[in-house]
Assembly symmetry: C2
């Protein structure tokens, strides 16, 4: 017996058409470089996006070819999210925080044919233009200034295209729509290629009530860059459900975000923990009557705040909850589209104490539908969900990557050639499977170490490479960091492993103090003992530093700390 | 270029495993025939469902074979929802409101191998047992009485199976999981066969925030029978999100439902309009201090009420809103899994008046994601979304049927044979496409006539066969019915077309008065004029009847009314 259901493919194009017909009057607000607000309706958005797609087809874009973006968060970047796939292309988001060398390397690895770039980012482009030649550089006049003559003007391109005459490129649901390179703290970045199918499925799952809980009446502020795992997929969800979008543009300073929240109060925002740490510190400082910003801001009470990209300290969750803002922590990575787990108040927690709720909220959360998750022990067996057995987190599902875009296999064009044109094999690369990243039975090895409790809450204890093994026992650097960050004088803390002759490894704590606070390193021992640590787990060494070095995605860059302190034993 | 995403199929089995590992402590409450409540945890449910699947495999169930169910709403029926597909079978829900002849015809058409039946429904089974022989009849001891020896005891079957040793039947996502026969008001029923893929996609879409808005903390009361388009798919959503389920069993009388709401207050309920009409009338009558039920019930304030299966009168929506209960109307059919449109408060209605909101809530709503919807005019062209152009609603999408299970093609067993065994072609029927139900370009013709407004709200004006064409102009029977039901003395109204020599057709209104109310037919004209009808649209004939005849799924059965009044011109 066969199913009688229609064989209709999943498609981003359906979501775009949906937005154009059902949500035409909804608003997209973009903050421009001069801090003014630019408003578009979804009706405008729909026509502009189809015009972009028509224009790209007019430029000869072929199915599967990559169009890179190097943009802040704004409406034109959202146009690329749907317009490039609509034309049959693959949107490749470049991370503007990478070095010119890295950008050149990645663009070459991806063999991007075109580049869409904000005019304000052209200085960055000029630093890597010699490393890779795009066939065409399309400049979005974000600042309003005229586009230099050697480039293609994004607005002129759209104005010259006819959205009504546009026809979607034929595709099946497994065809690619976007690619993103992982931001490994070590090693070369690796390309992940999303499909219509994986993107639609991830969008449906992440939008569900217990996770994003997206509704058409939401006002969403995506602080997470659109070049970080597609802003966690939120742009797709926003278009599907027809929410109002508020894009911060390049203005991510806490003062700017707080100002924007006054102008367009969000009901849902998303960003990494460091953004929210700075924001709450700035807000709290403004409560001082002597502050020049006193009385300038109100926080959007009732807002849901999606936080991910790094572990969220419990102290941060408590601080926001005091202001009526609930933090929903998510965990994932570029390889997982990215939402793999979300920490939401499960039904079992209905009668739990606030302490218990905070404790759970500070965990990575439970797997979302369509994601299988297991913890694989050092002994090569699956670990029980008992809240203490640890191992590597491994995941599987229809929006999890099963391979990486080939790095070595990609043809390298001769120096100075136009690699976007007529290169062999374009659109038909083989993918390679790296056994260090995938298990023989097809699960992704995430490199994160965790336990899972009986309720299904995943607690990340470390990256595999950041775990500290002292005298044969594991010490969690993440647990130490969270406890240190609960100290009233501490703004941030990063704990790394230092080689030790006697114990193998011992923890070293790097501490950033809050402005104006001082504390003796000897105070931390009693503080940590009060948080339930055993004496042998306490760091002997503390280093007071000005800031924790960060990767381009805002994660603690522990490799840099290890390099800095390795010589200072 | 290819996507790097894992080729993991969509599967109900994943949702079952998810429920077993993440929601083990959640509760499933079933009301038994004696009105007592039976409680199971999701942990119990998981083990029992796997035991059922193991037992079915032990009985030799082969991939794609049908297992019929003839059950009320309760935990064991939910076990069939996942256990039969887990074993590779196809759950075929039989509608206990059909006649014995129809049940026998449908079981034969589907070639069901086994039957799972409530013991309290055995009298119905005995009325059609001579028409079709199931290989095995598995009796669920719903009443607690011993199962007659000639049948297989469901509980003994589960007790004899090992859930831990169970292995899921291999499958791909297009393999069938369930089938349901349409309840056409005319013609033979037709089989619709759902797949893993279509069911998972429908579940994800319907569960989204603006539609069901399912969250793990919800308490869901499915009054809609599990044999009506799979209780609109809610059982799948409930398992995916881990909600608490409250099943009413056979007790659907308004008193019983109100009693159950006191014992287990729901946050979300679903049912057809007639159920809620009776319920609110019963509740309102109990507000009279002389009523024997005075003070017996409170309504669950804040509950969302999903209503579908027939048009929801605006008066009902207003009545419930006065009690703090918001009705979300949905529209769909067995062929559409079934949720195709939902009327939810769109962002554009944020500042709308309550009158405007009620008016929208009384429409079928806007298409949900993954559903393409168009209105096809008599002139063979797509109609604009202008709020007045009408035509047939046509839909397309991955959870819409593209054909029907073959009726004539199915092999007919010789009288008295055991058709479940060794019949040719079992598990590999061809499907047939009926051009009267599908357009040449692959859309489902729903047979409903509607307009769509600029916001995307679909307003069903009639079934194609119920539209009244008077003097070359269309009159909507649904509009007349809703206006009549807004009259304070009217409980229900059904309007049908009567042949007319001069005008072609004229409307005849069949009216059910509220208990103790009387009204002259001449009063209705001014009432309808006050609701915006033109004089030529008003019925000349009114018939006062005791009840509107209904189909097995609770829809107005206008064919019966036409038969009854055709001779009385």
């Amino acid at each position: 017996m066969k199913s009688t259901m229609m064989p209709v493919p999943l498609s981003l194009n359906h979501l775009l058409e949906r937005a154009g017909t059902l949500f035409a009057s909804n608003e997209i607000v973009s903050r421009l470089p001069d801090k003014s607000l630019k408003r578009h309706s979804f009706g405008d958005y729909y026509r502009r996006t189809r015009a972009l797609a028509a224009a790209l087809q007019g430029l000869g874009l072929q199915k599967g070819e990559r169009v890179a973006t190097l943009c802040w968060n704004h409406h034109a970047h959202l146009e690329c999210y749907f317009g490039i796939p609509a034309a049959g292309g693959v949107m490749h988001t470049l991370n503007l925080r990478l070095s010119p060398d890295e950008l050149g390397w990645i663009a070459n690895d991806a063999q991007d044919r075109f580049l869409v770039i904000d005019d304000v980012l052209l200085p960055l482009y000029r630093q890597f233009a010699h490393l890779y030649k795009f066939e065409k550089v399309i400049v979005f006049p974000f600042s309003g200034a005229p586009v230099p003559a050697e480039f293609t003007d994004y607005e002129a391109l759209l104005a010259g295209a006819d959205p009504d005459a546009f026809r979607y490129a034929p595709h099946d649901e497994n065809d690619p729509v976007a690619m993103c390179y992982t931001s490994g703290t070590t090693g070369r970045p690796k390309g992940v290629v999303y499909s219509h199918r994986s993107t639609v499925l991830h969008t449906l799952v992440a939008s569900l009530g217990d996770f994003w809980g997206l509704r058409g009446t939401d006002v969403v502020l995506p602080v997470t860059p659109m070049f970080h795992a597609n802003s966690w997929g939120m742009p797709y969800g926003a278009v599907m459900m027809g929410v109002k979008l508020v894009f911060p543009g390049p203005h991510l300073h806490p003062d700017d975000l707080l100002d924007l929240m006054q102008l367009e109060p969000p009901t849902l925002s998303l960003g990494v923990p460091t953004i929210w740490m700075s924001l709450i510190q700035t807000f709290d400082a403004a409560q001082n009557p002597d502050s020049p910003s006193h009385g300038r801001w109100k926080l959007p009470v009732g807002m849901r705040s999606l936080v991910g990209g790094a572990a969220v300290p419990e102290a941060l969750i408590r601080a926001f909850d005091q202001h009526g803002i609930w933090i929903l922590q998510g965990w994932g990575m570029t390889e997982t589209s990215p939402v793999a787990t979300v920490s939401y108040p499960k039904a079992e927690l209905r009668n739990a104490s606030m302490d218990e709720r905070y404790r759970r909220a500070a965990m990575a959360g439970v797997p979302v539908p369509l994601v299988d998750l297991r913890v694989w022990g050092d002994d090569g067996t699956e670990q029980p969900w008992d809240g203490h057995s640890v191992g590597e987190v491994q995941v599987r599902g229809p929006f999890i990557t099963g391979s990486y875009y080939p790095q070595e296999a990609a043809p390298r064009p001769p120096e100075g050639a136009l690699p976007g044109l007529g290169r062999p094999g374009a659109g038909d690369h083989q993918v390679s499977v790296n056994p260090e990243k995938f298990t023989p039975d097809g699960w992704l090895r995430t490199g994160d170490v965790a336990s899972v409790d009986a309720m299904g809450f995943v607690k990340i204890t470390d990256r595999t490479k950041d775990l500290i093994k002292s005298g044969g026992e594991w010490i969690s650097s993440v647990d130490l960091e969270n406890a240190l960050m609960a100290h009233p004088a501490v703004a941030e803390a990063a704990v790394i492993a230092m080689p030790d002759e006697k114990w193998g490894e011992r923890p070293l704590a790097c501490v950033v103090l809050k402005p104006g606070r001082s504390v003796a390193a000897t105070d931390f021992g009693p503080h940590l003992l009060g948080h339930g640590f055993a004496k042998w787990q306490l760091p002997e060494r503390y280093e007071f530093i000005d800031a924790v070095p960060r990767t381009s995605t805002g994660k603690f860059w522990k490799m840099k700390l290890r390099e800095r302190f390795a010589s200072k034993t």
